[in-house]
Symmetry: none
Subunit: 199 residues, 4 copies
DNA sequence: AATGAATGAGTGTTCATTCAT
DNA sequence: TATGAATGAACACTCATTCAT
């Protein structure tokens, strides 16, 4: 059975991804300490033991979640955006529209943002300190756009890093709303852009 | 011992407040599930049993913390501010300066904001649903200022409640930074005001 | 696995019964407050956590034990005995022989009698007050036999309920001896019968 | 103040006795494990700490209680009774009347009997094994009376020790009723005597 | 001497992890 | 491979004992 072998591998991969995806949401909503393996596995619809076939421990599962949350495709788009020959204001608008749209459509995306920002915020034992390159790069890209905007006089002055942090902080805020509030009112792109835009 | 009796009561009240204050910070930083009574009591500098002299359970202690977080004096100031005969822009500025100052100076204030907003955000069993009057009123006051500002053409249009929610969301964001980040960069009042101010 | 499903249920039932049976003896010997879950589980030969898979709490386990102690099969035999067309003296003798034999052979029976009588004696919060029907009925049956014996002039006069209570009190007494004393001297049926029998 | 010194001693002795007496009842009703120092002291009407001025520990207090329960004056009367030149039946009747009367009138006496018999019954670490001389002697005296009765053909045959044990077992039984049941029906002397008396 | 708040060892209960099926 | 019952270390909570007043 040559086909069975690879099919098996495929099934394994699928299960692993299911666990990761569902756990991402669960951890984002309940936190690490607030998540019980028994509840989580019930929520996923598998036995408790199954999780331990794919992950060494609760800790390890959480780390793997942070890794995928940390390596999503947004960064690539960002780099593309930065290098585009358009105004910073336009770049910011495209970014904001994209981010808010994904936030609305994809709960998983909201969970990724939430976990990622918490990781940055808390910076403690629970989170591996090395794995924040992505977020840092995202901030760097954003601050590049902001610096461009400052030159173009369309954006407010001050530390571009601080402003990028503010911008993504607000995104984090509405990720939380997306995750926790059933009937939340999403912010508009214009609202989000006002964090850095001059009147 | 006529003095002893009332002095005793006083000491009891003091201990209760110490526990509440220290626990407020601890819970705000670690969450309910992430807080161990053993760690908490070590952090406060008392024995584990002492907590149970003043509070029925970990759950009960948390509820009491939410109660005090929900009843701080900010609201009174807000109502005064709303009724003052000055422009909405000025009101907003005074509010922002006050809030950001207290955030900087008083970690307990940051913890109150954090717990309060989380309570609003999560709105689940863990938090008593009745105790959110204060926050709601705070939002109402803010939205009144925003409505005034909209009439005065100094503030952006749209649902004033949604904008008030945005404004306080950003305050929550920087409460988290205050609580978790050792070397955080506080937002400026101008930054905060931009959430609702027209250019 | 069609067999596995029901076999699993079977095994669960078995474990529950093992815990109940062993706990019955342990509680009867050490009392509720004197029984530590850690000791009990060691005595049963299982982990502490296992008890909590089958029972909500120590309290709940104790209640379940009282329930089974309260619903043993003795009562059915008693009713049969009462309705038999023989002399009260003979009935009493058959009852006494049966009871003393079981006491000797079956430690669990002794524990049931002990817990049941204590429940009746203490009649406090620890014991659910509703669950004493069995004991009461047992007393009723016995007092019926005594009343028959009083008519037949073979038994002493006075309140038949009080005499039944005396009779079962002595049974309780020797249940305690059976439970606590390693080299006890069991009472004879004649001794037991003398509680109610005329010379 | 020579008087003050001894008066002080007197007061100390009084307090010690109050604690002993009240604790005797409390322990008899709730058992060793079921008795909390906090509840006990509340029941006595003193502070928790006061108990530790008079007794080293809960364990020690319990031992002291057993000592007084073990050394009451009943034994002296018994010895007198044994040596009296009257029939065994009469002796038994006098004993039964005395015992049942005291049981009725004096709850402390019931508690003594209860604790003493439990000590004999359980014979475990909790009870000092040496201190059972009194009870043993009481049994010896009783069995002497029974042996006299057997010679006089007024009492049933068999091991006199076993019968004495039966007799006092029933006394224990009604001590428990006295302690636990609010509206108990006390046994009559005749009922009690039937344990050993021939018809 | 008497108190009762404070303590921490000890007890009840939970939950991450293992393992027989 | 998947399961969930079993486990025991870890956590919430209690209570005998101490000690400042």
């Amino acid at each position: 059975m040559p086909k069975s072998k690879e099919r098996c591998q495929e099934i394994r991969e699928e299960m692993r991804n299911t666990i990761l995806q569902k756990s991402l949401l669960y951890f984002a909503r309940n936190g690490f300490a607030g998540t019980k393996i028994s509840d989580l596995s019930k929520n996923i619809g598998i036995g408790q033991g199954t999780i331990y076939i794919y992950f060494e421990s609760k800790e390890n599962l959480f780390q793997e979640i942070l890794k995928i949350a940390d390596s999503n495709e947004m960064l690539r788009e960002m780099k593309l955006l930065v290098s585009m020959p358009i105004s910073a204001k336009k770049k910011l608008h495209m970014l904001s529209e994209t981010v808010l749209n994904r936030l609305e459509e994809d709960e998983t995306f909201a969970a990724m943002i939430a976990l990622n920002t918490q990781m940055l915020l808390e910076k403690n034992e629970a989170y591996s300190s090395e794995e924040t390159t992505y977020q840092t790069e995202l901030y760097n890209c954003t601050s590049q756009i902001i610096e461009q905007g400052q030159k173009e006089k369309s954006m407010v002055g001050g530390s571009s890093i601080k402003l990028a942090d503010y911008y993504w902080g607000v995104v984090y805020l509405y990720s939380l709303k997306r995750l926790f509030t059933s009937e939340y009112e999403m912010i508009s792109a214009a609202d989000l852009e006002r964090t850095v835009l001059k009147g």
